[in-house]
């Protein structure tokens, strides 16, 4: 999954995150900040894989996770603490062997062991924020998002529930 995503560093310090369906380009000032906050490709790929374990929606485009990590990385630009937490968290996972190279069950087991760490707890919260504010996820889970574009649910299923029992005492009167 992660192979669909690459981090390209072009001339002049421009960074382009190329994702499956999207590309976010940063301007020079931003890219300098990102350089200062420096995430390696390995760190970004590891974070993306962790998000896929935290919130594994099989039918979800993996770009959702990569976009989430790009957003999380950007948010950490102005917070040394957030950046440090992410970088050190990845380093801790890689302490004995490279976590990303392990099999899925070994990866999950390592995350399980780390689930009480500030790194994991924090990543879990921002992962939820990113993944469940993404309209691709909304589509998957059945949340229809912006309603003004079709004028609301008044004529579009706000009262279409059809499986409720009739009130007690009413069903008998039919027979």
């Amino acid at each position: 999954m992660t192979s669909r995503r690459e981090v390209l560093r072009g001339a002049g310090g421009m960074i382009t995150l190329v994702l499956a369906n999207t590309a976010c380009t940063f301007d020079k000032a931003e890219s300098e900040e990102i350089n200062a906050a420096a995430f390696s490709d390995h760190q970004l790929l590891t974070l993306t894989q962790i998000l896929q374990h935290i919130l594994p929606h099989a039918a979800l485009d993996s770009a959702v996770y990569a976009d989430a990590v790009a957003a999380i990385a950007r948010q950490s630009i102005n917070s040394g603490n957030k950046h440090k937490l992410l970088v050190e968290g990845v380093a801790a996972l890689d302490a004995s062997t490279i976590w990303l190279d392990a099999g899925a069950s070994a990866q999950v087991a390592a995350l399980k062991a780390a689930e009480k760490t500030p790194f994991f707890l924090s990543l879990q919260q921002v992962a939820i924020e990113q993944v469940y504010r993404d309209d691709r996820t909304w589509q998957l889970v059945g949340y229809e998002g912006e309603a003004i574009k079709f004028g609301g649910y008044l004529n579009r299923g706000f009262n279409d529930i059809d499986w409720l029992p009739s009130a007690p005492g009413q069903s008998e009167s039919v027979e």
């Binding site: 919130l55 879990q124 469940y132 309603a147 609301g152 649910y153 706000f158 009262n159 529930i161 059809d162």
Partner: protein, 519 residues
């Protein structure tokens, strides 16, 4: 014809806050030819700035300046209020319920309860009912006056059907300040489901597009957004003379005033009074008995989610379409005083996921459940909590906000009565969903308080409260409190309708005081 008043014009009434209390009071005064300057800490959004996006609008509306909580509150985000023109009426879910007569006589009805500073309201039920009727008419409350009830959505039909399986009677949709028909120049509800994100149809009453523009059209009203009041000044005769605020340019300016009304929502109102230390009131305005900030109430709250056997699509339509009041009465045999409502409350996938995490953990157990979002129902329980002296707003000893003022510290602990009520209410709600074969129900913790009450309570005598029954601060003849701070007890109902009714009553009083030259 918006008016602008001079900073040195001491003939104006200064209203602090533009929400349910401040927005209403401002318009009621302006309609009667009284000049008003309304200072609102937040920016003025246009309806076009609203988006059907809860997370986006949360950031737009919310009062995110720091506060600190303790006891049973979140440390970082103890309460959820709005910092925007219209205040919490931009975000509220429009439930407009009256206080019950027995709740108004809380001390007489519930008796002595250890640790609870119960009292009866210092005004009569008939008088308040008169203003309730006026407030409902102003706001266009569906189910009252000429306003038909709104239709039930899936989410409320489900809750009502579950309750009926348990033997409760059929319940109508709630009294909601949402247009079911075109009224007051505003469109009827199209069931968008984004009540909390600013109503794009303007079907929901908010002072932002009702009271504020109406006040402006009188020529007696000036709204100053992004104006954060930091201090109220008092003269030697005990009357307040002016307010100091940081204006939209970041400059500190002084507006002179004939009278001042504070409507900043109970936490900010108490904070401003405590921060306004004067020669006569060295512990803060109106705080001669140390009562400002005490008796903070936020309702007994809890949330339930239920995974149902069929689709619900809870996000479709009005967020709080209905409120079950079957357990709202006072029946001490249940093991607690007063009662509660069970209100449908739709959640977004994000809110659901955040709360499910504690139940399902991360990984496929969590995502398997969230993928059934369309099958979920959600409810909140909202009951009367009891006033306690130790639940209070104080000034933080070290931390200051960006205006240089000490931030609010809010301490709140649940009591036995609240805990017993909470358990009964959660159990009842679970039973309702289980009666319809819920696959699983989940209890979620109360969210940060939106019903903030009681920090400047009304009383007949100065020894017992901060304000008199018209909201006039004892010892400060021209200072008024005009929001939920004045509630001596919390009642079961959501507070906005009562805040509006009291503001309308206060406006009549202020007008009388002014024409009688008392003010």
């Amino acid at each position: 014809m918006t008016k602008s008043f001079d900073l040195t014009d001491g003939s104006v009434v200064v209203v602090i806050g533009s929400g349910a209390g401040g927005g209403t009071l401002s318009n009621e005064l302006a309609q009667n030819g009284i000049d008003v300057v309304c200072l609102e800490a937040g920016p003025r959004l246009a309806v076009g700035d609203f988006r059907n996006d809860e997370a986006y609008m949360f950031k737009k509306f919310t009062w995110l300046d720091p506060r600190e909580g303790s006891g049973d509150l979140s440390k970082k985000f103890p309460a959820f209020l709005c910092k925007t023109v219209g205040g919490t009426t931009t975000h509220w879910t429009a439930l407009s319920l009256r206080m019950r007569e027995h709740e108004m006589r809380a001390r007489s009805t519930y008796g002595e309860i250890e640790g609870a500073a119960l009292t009866d309201w210092p005004l009569g039920y008939e008088e308040l009912s008169h203003y309730y009727a006026m407030a409902e008419d102003k706001m266009g409350v569906a189910g009252t006056h000429d306003m038909p009830r709104l239709p039930a959505n899936n989410h409320f039909m489900l809750m009502n059907a579950g309750a009926m399986q348990l033997g409760y009677p059929n319940a109508p949709t709630a009294n909601l300040a949402i247009n079911s028909i075109s009224r007051d120049g505003r469109a009827p509800c199209q069931q968008l489901g984004f009540c909390k994100s600013g109503c794009l149809m303007q079907a929901k009453w908010s002072t932002l597009y009702t009271e504020i523009p109406k006040a402006e059209s009188t020529g007696h009203f000036e709204l100053r957004p992004e104006s954060m009041v930091v201090n109220i000044e008092q003269g030697a005769d005990g009357r307040v003379t002016s307010v100091i605020y940081e204006d939209s340019n970041g400059d500190l300016v002084r507006q002179k005033a004939r009278a001042v009304a504070i409507a900043g929502n109970a936490i900010e109102t108490a904070r401003l009074m405590l921060n306004s230390k004067t020669k006569q009131c060295p512990d803060g305005l109106g705080n001669q008995n140390g009562l400002v900030g005490r008796y903070y109430m936020r309702h007994v709250f809890g949330r339930i989610a239920a995974l149902m056997p069929g689709k619900v699509n809870m996000h479709r339509g009005i967020i709080q379409a209905g409120s079950l009041e079957h357990e709202a009465h006072h029946d001490p045999k249940r093991g607690f005083a007063s009662g509660y409502h069970i209100e449908v409350a739709a959640m977004t996938p994000e809110t659901l996921a955040r709360n499910l995490l504690a139940h399902e953990g991360w990984g496929s157990r969590l995502t398997d459940v969230i993928e059934q979002y369309a099958y979920f129902a959600g409810a909140i329980i909202c009951g009367e909590d009891l006033p306690r002296s130790s639940n209070r707003v104080t000034l933080h000893t070290d931390r200051k906000d960006r205006y240089g003022q000490p931030i609010a510290h809010v301490h709140y602990e649940y009591d036995d009565n609240g805990n017993a009520m909470h358990e009964h209410a959660m159990r009842t709600t679970e039973n309702i969903y289980q009666a319809l074969d819920a696959k699983k129900t989940y209890r979620f913790p109360a969210s940060s308080a939106t019903h903030n009450l009681g920090t400047a309570r009304m009383a007949l005598q100065e020894a017992d409260g901060v304000c008199d029954p018209h909201g006039q601060v004892f010892g400060v003849p021209n200072l008024y409190v005009s929001d939920g701070s004045v509630f001596p007890t919390a009642m079961t109902a959501n507070p906005t309708l009562t805040i509006v009714a009291l503001a309308m009553r206060q406006a009549v009083h202020l007008k009388q005081q002014m024409s009688g030259r008392v003010l």
